[in-house]
């Protein structure tokens, strides 16, 4: 490999040709500050517009300072990252950014998590040199059901734009206007709700400031808990337990299921249930639907649309409703686990507990922002009363626990309430890419072949590649499976299907990188793939340690069908657990 030799701050460095000064400095233990630079190695996406000019360094002999993030090392150069010229320029640039930034750090939702704030702290900026009443670029606030845009706080790093356009291919955000008033916004500066936005929340996950933030339902939940007339139940999604610990100082990949349950009970939830239970229920419905379609297809029924697509991910549902209105009959009609849980909780469970529907409040803890939108959809309401009242994110739960003065680390582990608290390992792996289809395969195999599945782990379905394919042997019949995570990869698969390029029987799609573990509501990982991998391992470990690994063996699921639903795809199931999709193409 060809290398180049250079000197950075008196340190001799040798790096492969093509390495940027920023990377070379990092390898040499020199942390040049940056703001707009974003690296997502697990998605092979490096965002380096070189626009914030915070990482400028001096190369003696060159006319101007250069941005370290976008300048390749060349042989023999000397780089000064902290010369007076570089420090003064960097400081002036950060002061300029601060001069056009609201100074409400104390109450900003991103306070403590803000890259601009960190820069200001590191550089020790104590005053901002600008004229009195200097103009500020201000914009209309935009509140959607899932995420808020306060573009007064935008620093034009345009990371959100890269995520939205390059990774998700949603195309809801781009830079508009010119000069001082330039900002990232949907086309024509329309509101997010009118744009093709899917509420996946990945822009929130990469925003370095408080410009893009999640809708906060913390206080709605606290009010519900304080209302003695309300019976408040909570469900927690699989991916939450694998990441919540990070907010309390645990290393990534620490599973904190027991402590999380204890914390929720301590907060005053009347019942602490598990979305994993509903995930098992989803498998019963979706797996049966899959099997039904495949069987009819194999028997020569020409009306069957294959492949069947999973429908657990609400951002993905928004995506295909917007972009593939001609394919609305392809995805499974099964509702997502969150909505299945809500529907069962407010019927079966409410009846069992003797609580009236209107007195029950269902809170869901999700790694996701789109879930906030999903639970507000009209089709998931009965006479205006939603099946799930409030969806909060993993970050909001951590906040709630802190508001509740709970010392998370010293909590004793507790178990979920029953029924609706038992889950199989199949339900747990819903949190990672490939998990839903693996869970479905475990059940479908046994239902299809009538034989017991000996090898439960389908390693061929696991991994972090954006698009994965596998053929699973169902006792001589090969079922072809496709898996995609991120909406950009989903688009590739769907475009292929439209053209008839693939012969998949089933496809799983998750909107977020790595699946729900990388959701927009998770503790912010800023593109650190090691964190994602650790969360993934934690999920598979939890599955491995479960005694029940297949959804249809979950005794509480069996009980639910016996007592209430009858059988999968029954009339009651259709009413409560299935949905339909709406075409809403947007420009």
């Amino acid at each position: 490999m060809e290398t180049v030799k250079l000197t950075i701050d008196n340190r001799h460095v040798e790096v492969p040709k093509g390495t940027t000064i920023l990377q070379a400095a990092h390898q040499a233990g020199i942390n040049i500050p940056s703001l707009c630079y974003m690296n997502l190695p697990h998605l092979a996406q490096e965002h380096k517009p070189g626009s914030c000019r915070v990482c400028v360094v001096e190369i003696p002999g060159r006319k101007n300072l250069v941005p370290a993030c976008a300048t390749e090392c060349t042989d023999g150069i000397t780089v000064l990252s902290h010369s007076l010229r570089a420090i003064n320029a960097r400081r002036t640039v950060v002061e300029l950014l601060l001069s056009d930034h609201p100074k409400d750090c104390l109450i900003c939702p991103s306070s403590g998590n803000c890259e601009l704030q960190k820069l200001s702290i590191t550089m020790g900026i104590r005053e901002i040199n600008s004229v009195e009443n200097a103009a500020m670029s201000t914009y209309r606030k935009d509140a959607s059901p899932a995420l808020n845009r306060n573009m007064d706080k935008c620093v034009m790093c345009r990371s959100c734009e890269t995520v939205c356009n390059e990774i998700q291919t949603v195309g809801a955000l781009s830079a508009v206007n010119r000069g001082f008033m330039s900002v990232v916004a949907p086309a024509f500066e329309q509101e997010l709700t009118d744009s093709p936005c899917t509420f996946c929340g990945q822009c929130v996950a990469v925003c370095p400031t408080g410009a893009l933030t999640a809708v906060d339902n913390t206080f709605h939940v606290i009010r519900a808990l304080a209302d003695s007339n309300k019976f408040v139940v909570v469900q927690t999604a699989p991916a939450v337990r694998a990441a919540l610990g990070e907010e309390f100082g645990y290393p990534p990949g620490t599973s904190v299921t027991g402590k999380m349950v204890a914390a929720l009970r301590s907060l005053g939830f009347d019942k602490v249930f598990d979305t994993d239970f509903a995930a098992d229920l989803t498998i019963m419905e979706e797996g049966t639907e899959l099997l039904d379609r495949i069987t009819r297809f194999l028997n020569g029924d020409k009306n069957v649309r294959l492949p069947i697509l999973t429908s657990c991910c609400p951002a993905w549902v928004n995506f295909f409703e917007t972009n593939y209105p001609d394919m609305l009959d392809v995805p499974s009609t099964a509702r997502s686990p969150q909505q299945m849980f809500g529907a069962i909780a407010k019927t079966y469970m409410a009846e069992k507990l003797g609580v009236k529907r209107e007195d029950m409040v269902v809170v869901s803890v999700m790694p996701c922002l789109a879930k906030k939108y999903e639970c507000q959809r009209d089709e998931f309401k009965v006479d205006g009363n939603p099946d799930v009242d409030y969806a909060i994110t993993t970050r909001e739960l951590a906040h709630l626990i802190k508001i509740g003065n709970i010392d998370f680390k010293t909590l004793k582990e507790e178990d979920f309430d029953r029924p609706m608290g038992e889950s199989s390992g199949a339900g747990v792996i819903f949190g990672v890419t490939g998990g839903v289809i693996e869970a479905a395969t475990r059940t479908a195999y046994e239902l299809f072949t009538g034989k017991k599945l000996e090898k439960v782990d389908f390693h061929e379905l696991r991994g972090m590649e954006g698009i994965r394919t596998a053929s699973v042997n169902f006792d001589g019949t090969y079922i072809h499976i496709g898996i995609a995570h991120t909406l950009g990869n989903a688009r590739k698969l769907l475009d292929g299907i439209r053209k008839g390029m693939y012969n998949f029987h089933a496809i799983e799609i998750m909107a977020c990188p790595g699946g729900c573990i990388g959701g927009g509501g998770q503790p912010l990982h800023r593109g650190n793939s090691i964190v994602l991998k650790a969360r993934m391992d934690a999920i598979y470990k939890e599955d491995f340690n479960k005694t029940i690994r297949k959804s249809h063996e979950n005794p509480e699921i069996i009980q639910l069908y016996e007592e209430f639903l009858g059988k999968p795809l029954s009339e009651k199931s259709h009413k409560l657990l299935h949905t339909h999709y709406f075409s809403h193409p947007k420009q």
Binding site: P49, G50, S51, C52, R53, V54, V56, N64, L65, P67, R85, N88, A89, T92, V93, L96, L97, S99, D100, N129, S130, V131, A134, A135, V155, M156, A175, N177, R178, G179, F180, M181, S182
Partner: protein
Amino acid sequence: MFALAGKINNVGLIEVPMGITLREIIYEIGGGIKNGKKFKAVQTGGPSGGCLTEAHLDTPIDFDSLLAAGSMMGSGGMIVMDEDDCMVSIAKFYLEFIVEESCGKCTPCRIGNKRMLEILEKIIQGKGNMEDLDHLRNLAYVIKDTSLCGLGQSSPNPVLSTLENFYDEYVAHVKEKRCFAKQCKALARYTINPDVCTGCTICARNCPVDAITGEKREPHFINQEICIHCGVCYQKCKFNAIIVE
């Protein structure tokens, strides 16, 4: 090829050999300054160029010498200014154009030019202080040094070259609150010469803030505390009795 314009007798497009001096262009081809006024500066290279002074008049015109003098060939614009032009206002004029043209991608150009413009406006309003000048100079250097494209890298040139060549004008605006060229209205002081004033009352009747008092056929008087420096009295007076300082 230059587009010769400004306070000069012969304006128009000129084609001249490389190495010709500014003096030759202005006084021989251009026919000297209009109305026999005094030459003050010549701005070359379009909005991103710089303002050169009398000291540069014998500089031969080519890419390198203009760059060394703090300006550029740029778009081939050549605007001649006389003693009636305020260099702070000129810098502001060009910066307004730059702020309008900035695409907004990089921080120094997007926010920095706007901030420079605000400082210049403050100075023109008579509210500037010496710290503002230091801040202006620092901003100009940093914007030049860190901007992403040629627009931002050259946008501070009008400010830097006027700071360099006409620093005393900036200081006069800031310290004495005076504009030598009498262009900055906020700094202008309007008084009435009692020897010339006929007491016709036209100024008092047109003053929008009733700052002018006086009896008919008697010399009038401007109350400086009320005066908003609009210049209406100066325009209306038929006897040139209004003095602008």
